[in-house]
């Protein structure tokens, strides 16, 4: 009964509804109902899944793609750097360019071993025994007894347990860093390092932090910032990368302070001594001797035979496991042909000669001193390097600078050219335009131990004259 009542009621109201509503109203309501149903049932908006490009579209994309030319537009610095000098012959002090003999103040021949008679004779003998190339990497019969001898001699000279020999100084540091520092590790680098070090740092793919050149407060700030405690400290390797003598600025690293930090913050120290070995210190052992600290407190120390010892190649010395690790993991060591034997013997001879006769080193120190004193009252140019560095950087002082890199470089180029007319070989420091921290434009004078006092005085005179005539 009850159900029947409800049924009747609904029927009644429905009848009422239809009768009382007018037909247009019904139509509107009907439309609304349909619309609501449509809204409810409609699929939410999605882009079409199947938007794969058709073959024709792909072809079009490929046709449209135009690569940039392989040779980019040369930038003004490149154009400026294009001038080349071809050396026709050279002695230990002079270089012949365009049939004109010039006094060498540009090649890094700090101890005068390039062109040294004794070294030339040793080289000749080696070529007569071993030929020129070694025809293979160290692993594949490219290890010749003279390489082992040089490694031993270098380790003795540096007073480190072992040494590994690379066939190019450029590849030494740029292989040594990535062989230790891997993805996830931390590298803290001085902003003033030269490009080979920079390359090594980039190749490691580690997390890189920079500190201002030789600024110990800034280094401490970065060290604080990267300090881990607990389990992370046991996994993440931390390296600080510096140069002994900065080639780009002629300054030296404050090593004792950095070693103090090393004890405090527990990092490993990588130091490139390409330009300080054979130059700094009373017997030429480099910056560690200069400061009187133990060379073995530097974990990974690299150097070059190319600057003081007048031969090719580079080396890395350190603890036996550090060296042994590079013999398997240093890409520039494993995958490159070994150093030509005659360069190995000439480097060995040079090291022995330096060890036997310290007077060449003393003369170098005197010459550097003399040069600095002579150049100190130079007008228009200022010396930005330290008075113990064999590379002297001369850059335009605040009065004569044009505040424009290209113009400054052009002025320096003019000075260099004038100096060459007057018989001395100088060079601007050249950099790749893409370098990250490109140093100030400068003329780089390389002092060597063979220069006589008269030659130095004369060169200083010429530099002064050329500068004043150009500025």
């Amino acid at each position: 009964m009850f159900l029947f009542d409800i049924y009747n009621n609904i029927l009644f109201y429905l009848k009422e509804f239809i009768v009382t509503t007018t037909s247009p109203n019904l139509f509107i309501h009907g439309m609304m109902a349909v619309f609501i149903i449509y809204l409810l049932t409609k699929r939410p908006f999605k882009p079409r899944q199947n938007d794969k490009l058709s073959k024709a579209e792909e072809e079009e994309l490929i046709r449209e793609w135009t690569p940039t030319p392989l040779t980019p537009k040369s930038n003004p610095l490149e154009v400026l750097n294009q001038k080349e000098l071809v050396i026709q012959s050279s002695t230990s002090t002079h270089v012949t360019v365009d049939n004109k003999e010039l006094l060498n103040l540009a090649r890094a021949n700090y101890l005068g071993f390039i062109g040294n008679d004794e070294i030339n004779k040793v080289s000749e003998k080696t070529v007569r025994k071993y030929g020129v190339g070694s025809c293979g990497p160290r692993g594949f019969y490219g290890t010749i007894d003279v390489h082992l001898e040089l490694e031993k001699r270098t380790a003795e000279f540096m007073k480190t347990p072992e040494t590994v020999l690379y066939s190019s100084a450029y590849a030494t540091i740029s292989s040594a860093i990535p062989s230790f520092s891997k993805i996830g590790d931390i590298i803290i680098v001085d902003r003033g390092v030269s490009q080979p070090v920079q390359v090594g740092v980039t190749l490691s793919r580690s997390r890189i932090f920079y500190f201002n050149h030789n600024d110990m407060d800034d280094l401490q700030r970065v060290l604080e910032q990267t300090q881990f405690t607990g389990s992370k400290a046991k996994i993440v390797r931390k390296f600080v990368v510096i140069e002994g003598l900065y080639y780009n600025s002629g300054t030296i690293a404050p090593l004792p302070q950095i070693l103090k930090f090393k004890e405090q913050y527990k990092f490993r120290l990588i130091m490139d001594e390409s330009h300080s070995i054979g130059v700094l210190g009373s017997t030429g052992r480099g910056i560690t001797e200069h400061y009187g600290v133990d060379v073995n407190s530097v974990d990974i120390l690299t150097g070059s035979y190319g600057n003081a010892f007048g031969s090719g190649g580079g080396f890395c010395c350190g603890a036996p496991e550090v060296v042994y690790h590079q013999r398997l993991n240093g890409v520039g060591y494993v995958f490159s042909a070994s150093l030509p034997p005659f360069l190995a013997t000439s480097a060995t001879t040079a090291i022995t000669m330096l060890d036997e006769d310290n007077s060449i080193l003393e003369r170098l120190h005197e010459n550097i001193n003399h040069f600095y004193k002579g150049l100190s009252d130079l007008k228009g140019l200022e010396i930005t390097s330290l008075p113990i560095s064999p590379v002297i950087h001369l850059s335009l002082d605040s009065k004569s600078t044009r505040n424009n890199r290209i113009e400054d470089e052009m002025v320096l180029e003019k000075i260099v050219n004038k100096a060459m007319e007057s018989g001395i070989l100088l060079t601007r420091a050249k950099y790749v335009a893409a370098e990250k921290f490109i140093p100030k434009p400068s003329i780089r004078v390389s002092v060597n131990s063979l220069l006589s006092k008269e030659q130095i005085n004369q060169s200083i005179q010429i530099i002064k004259q050329c500068t004043s005539s150009v500025l």
Binding site: I62, Y130, G133, R138, P196, V199, F335, F342, L425, A434
Partner: protein, 492 residues
């Protein structure tokens, strides 16, 4: 090339060698771990790290060094005390325990036939006109330049070498670097930068990989020598553009090698050039092993296929191998070389080539080109090809699995087992043959091999004698995986 088909190697050596390979690796690792465990119980400590420092090496690297590589390390780094010519003096070494370093014993060196050095044309000489010129140059220039070629280190010898190399290769200009490794690793970043794409062969040399890493741009890899896969990668890359931003790539650089040093194979150049042209990519060919060794006139892989140099954008090679010197070159259009001279890291920051090395390369090149007025160069080339083909055929007939193409002086012989690496090398040394064996990481883990490098200075008797001995060793440690297959082929 029709010849190529004949020399295509058969990969299917059956499941057994591969299975044994994995078992031996497992055994070596297990054995090593056990030794390490026993050592620890005894109280030995291996990775000593000062307090508060992270260990300097990854633990497995150190384990690999001590327990795996350490066991067979006498197969590498063998010192010699003679010129790296056809015959060399290998100095004996020994150590008390495999985990200790090898020391020279000071005994009389072992006179060995050299099947390891890259002395393809036999220019590793201490006598003769080339060596005389080198000695002369020592007194003219000194041993080194002490400066970069962009500053004041460019010697006359280096300039002449650049010009002659450009002429030899058929490019407008060339530039020369101190070291072959640095040629690749320093030049690539100057060629291509952000927004560019490098497509590299999967078996490219480490120097190319280093250079690619250094560019900071995206690197894709295609299957070794597989032109079809290369085309797929190129198409896909152009269509998709750069990741995330979807911008089109600024340029695409394909990097291949002339002869792959671990495979002995020449690259599939004609097909790759067709793809390069079709898709407007640039091509970089590393001819470290092929220059001076392949082709009738020694102009490398292009000469081999008869392709003009204009088809390849950048040609790179080294003077280490066929020329008996050191260093490398890059040859291209003049405008590009002018750009590279100012922007290649290796040109601006690495010292220039040592002048005597430049003279060695220059005189060797003159000899190859016949510009010294003799036909010594042509004879050497012919001798090299004859030697390589003869040796390859002889050892193939014996049933070894051999890789590589005709004329290629690099002849790898597959060993398929890490234990056989050292066994082969030691047995060969005992019988006075110096061979190179290569395993991981230079090759894939599953493909240890020994690699013969043939030289023009080997005589036929040398090679016959070597073949006999290799045959003996092959029987002794059962390396003739291809034996049945080869005889079957002959019957067919």
């Amino acid at each position: 090339m029709e010849d190529k088909e004949d020399f295509e190697h058969e990969d299917h050596v059956g499941i057994f060698p591969i299975l044994m390979l994995y078992i031996s690796y497992a055994f070596i690792i297990f054995n090593g771990k056990l030794a390490e465990f026993v050592g620890k119980l005894k109280g030995e400590r291996y990775l000593i790290t000062p307090d508060g420092y992270a260990p300097l090496f990854v633990e497995f690297e150190y384990f690999y060094q001590r327990r795996m590589y350490g066991r067979i390390k006498d197969a590498w780094d063998r010192p010699i005390n003679s010129i790296a010519g056809a015959w060399i003096n290998v100095m004996p070494r020994s150590s008390k325990h495999y985990s200790q370093r090898l020391e020279l014993t000071g005994e009389k060196p072992i006179r060995c036939l050299n099947l390891g050095s890259y002395n393809y044309l036999g220019f590793a000489q201490s006598e003769g006109p080339v060596a005389d010129k080198v000695v002369e140059s020592i007194y003219r220039y000194g041993t080194y330049t002490g400066s970069t070629s962009s500053e004041v280190g460019l010697s006359q010898a280096q300039r002449e070498l650049e010009q002659l190399t450009a002429r030899f290769i058929g490019k407008e200009d060339a530039m020369v670097f101190e070291m072959g490794f640095a040629t690749n690793s320093g030049t690539l970043p100057a060629l291509i930068g952000k927004g560019g794409l490098i497509i590299s062969d999967s078996l490219n040399h480490a120097s190319l990989a280093t250079g690619c890493k250094n560019t900071g741009c995206k690197v894709k890899v295609f299957r070794h020598n597989d032109a079809k896969h290369l085309e797929e990668v190129v198409r896909q890359s152009i269509i998709e553009g750069q990741p995330r931003t979807r911008r089109p790539w600024t340029m695409i650089l394909i990097i291949i090698e002339g002869i792959y040093s671990m495979e002995g194979e020449t690259s599939n150049l004609p097909e790759i050039i067709a793809i390069k042209k079709k898709y407007k990519c640039y091509l970089y060919v590393d001819e470290a092993h092929s220059i001076g060794a392949l082709g009738k006139t020694g102009r490398g892989v292009l000469d081999y296929y008869g392709i003009p140099a204009s088809e390849v954008d950048i040609m790179m090679g080294t003077y280490t191998k066929s020329f008996g010197s050191i260093g490398g070159y890059v040859a291209a259009d003049k405008s590009l070389i002018d750009h590279l001279r100012q922007s290649s890291f290796s040109a601006v920051y690495a010292n220039s080539m040592s002048p005597p090395c430049a003279v060695q390369a220059l005189e060797a090149l003159r000899c190859i080109m016949g510009e010294d007025g003799t036909d010594i160069g042509a004879q050497k080339l012919k001798q090299l090809h004859d030697n390589s083909n003869y040796f390859r055929e002889r050892i193939r007939e014996m049933g070894f699995v051999i890789l590589g193409n005709k004329d290629s002086p690099v002849i790898p012989l597959m060993l398929f087992n890490p234990a056989k690496l050292s066994a082969f090398s030691r047995l060969a040394l005992e019988r006075h043959i110096a061979v190179v064996v290569v395993g991981y990481p230079a090759t894939p883990l599953t493909e240890p091999r020994t690699r013969f490098c043939i030289s023009a200075s080997h005589t036929r008797e040398d090679l016959d004698w070597a073949c006999e001995i290799i045959n003996e060793i092959g029987d002794e440690i059962s390396l003739k995986f291809n034996k049945n297959k080869y005889t079957n082929k002959l019957i067919k």
